[in-house]
Amino acid sequence: MNTNSRSQEGAWARHALAHAPSYLAATALFALMAMTFADVVLRSVFNSPISAATELTRLFMAITVFSSLPVISWRGEHIVVDLLDPFVRGRAAQVRDVLIDALAGIVIFWPAIRVYELAERAKQYGDTTEYLQIPQFYIAYFIAFSTFVTALILLLRAVIRAVAPDYLATIKNA
């Protein structure tokens, strides 16, 4: 049996790991808000806007979206049509959800791989951002990685749905 403190430590580590992408997204989002505010104030009052504001906006958005993509996939928060929910229940719903999650997971591997290849290409051509000259491939690597994790998560969900369907209901409250 675990000691109490060890299990708490474990819980904290699990929390940190599970929420790391959310914290990253939240930081980027807050930075986007703060930078836009600072940019407008600096421009309006001091006539000196942040030159790199546009490309930083793009960067913060990419981080926000692609940090969150695996999270919403894990939590089942994609936008879906739940029109038939009252009619498809129990076993039928379970089979449907396993198949759909598995299919979704499998098809996302292809764009994940291609995004990686496009990142390699951007690296080879020397693509950078305009002002800060941040290499484009870093951003594309990140997007490829996130897409790849999303694919894995959807497959994992399919497996969990198949063997322990009740577990998924607990995720949202975690």
Binding site: R43, N47, S48, P49, S51, A53, T54, E55, L118, R121, Y125, G126, D127, T128, T129, E130, Y131, Q133, P135, Q136
Partner: protein, 314 residues
């Protein structure tokens, strides 16, 4: 026609490139291949920076790219954007292609696709809501600038750069988030600048020029019959570049006319003294671009001289 090439275009259908340039190129292709090859335009398949990849992987057959949208990738192409060249977009585009054949090719910046043409837009000028008649007045202005050389020009003139994509220019100016914008005269009509940037300050030869390429998917080109490939090669290169430059001159003229025919608009040409002053301001920008291109293995100094003399001869 046996083959219909798909053109991917990112500007609105009313833009001169879509309304005039592509139809002309299509006609040239049809005539050269005796109707066996034609083309049609699809709009907004992807944003501008994605177009090169789209063509490289065959998601469309033809497109036009603005080199400034892929910073880092295109360095040698900046040599045509430099201030100081005198002449029309047609003259610049022809010189551009010739310089490419002679000098720029070695940088191999368009690898992975078939290069169809190289061209520039008309001379880039300053359009603003307050009247500018002297170079000094630009200092401290908030200007929307494009990438590449135009950004460096704005900095050198002491303007504060505001970066927004071209379709957002009207709103940016209408809300006074920027005092002005640097664009070719075409923008007075194409981006409705007659309403929000009434006054144009014109530097003969332009503050800069924008650089574009028309590109084609390599495999698509090779999949055509030998006869069709040969026919296309009579269109591609200098003829297509010249035609695209002509179109920019044409739509620039429309912009000038719109400015002259709108009551509260004005056209102000830089004085002789300001032209000299600008040459001095531009010198370090030219030097930096030459150095960057030289580092990429291009005989940049010779290329710049070649472009200037070729344009002067035209």
């Amino acid at each position: 026609a046996d083959t219909t090439l798909v053109i991917s275009s990112w500007a609105p259908p009313t833009h001169g490139m879509n309304a005039k340039m592509w139809p002309k190129l299509t006609k040239m292709i049809e005539e050269a291949t005796e109707g066996r090859v034609t083309a049609e335009i699809k709009y907004k398949l992807a944003p501008p920076p994605a177009q090169f990849d789209l063509i490289q992987d065959g998601a469309a057959d033809l497109t036009w790219i603005f080199h400034g949208y892929n910073p880092g990738r295109f360095v040698a192409t900046q040599l045509i954007e430099l201030p100081g060249y005198q002449g029309s977009a047609e003259a610049a585009s022809v010189a551009y292609w010739r310089a490419y054949e002679k000098y720029l090719k070695s940088a191999n910046e368009h690898r992975g696709v078939k290069l169809v043409a190289l061209h520039t837009h008309g001379p880039g000028q300053l359009h603003s809501s307050t009247k500018v008649t002297e170079l000094d007045q630009i200092k401290g202005m908030k200007l929307r600038l494009g990438g590449g050389v135009s950004g460096a020009v704005g900095d050198a003139l002491g303007a504060t750069g505001i970066r927004v994509p071209a379709p957002k220019v009207y709103e940016t100016l209408a809300s006074n988030a920027a005092d002005g914008v640097m664009m070719p005269m075409e923008g007075k009509k194409g981006f409705k600048l007659t309403e929000v940037a009434q006054h144009s300050y014109v530097m003969p030869g332009g503050f800069y020029r924008g650089s574009f390429a028309l590109i084609m998917n390599q495999e698509k080109f090779e999949s055509l019959s030998k006869a069709d490939q040969d026919a296309l090669m009579t269109v591609f290169g200098e003829p297509a570049s010249r035609m695209a430059g002509q179109v920019w001159d044409e739509i620039d003229a429309i912009g000038v006319e719109a400015t002259e025919s709108t009551a509260d608009n004005s056209l102000n040409t830089a004085s002789e003294a300001d032209r000299k002053a600008y040459d001095a301001i531009a010198a370090p920008i030219i030097e930096a671009a030459i150095k960057a291109a030289t580092d990429k293995g291009v005989d940049a100094k010779a290329a710049v001289e070649f472009i200037a003399s070729d344009m002067a001869a035209n």
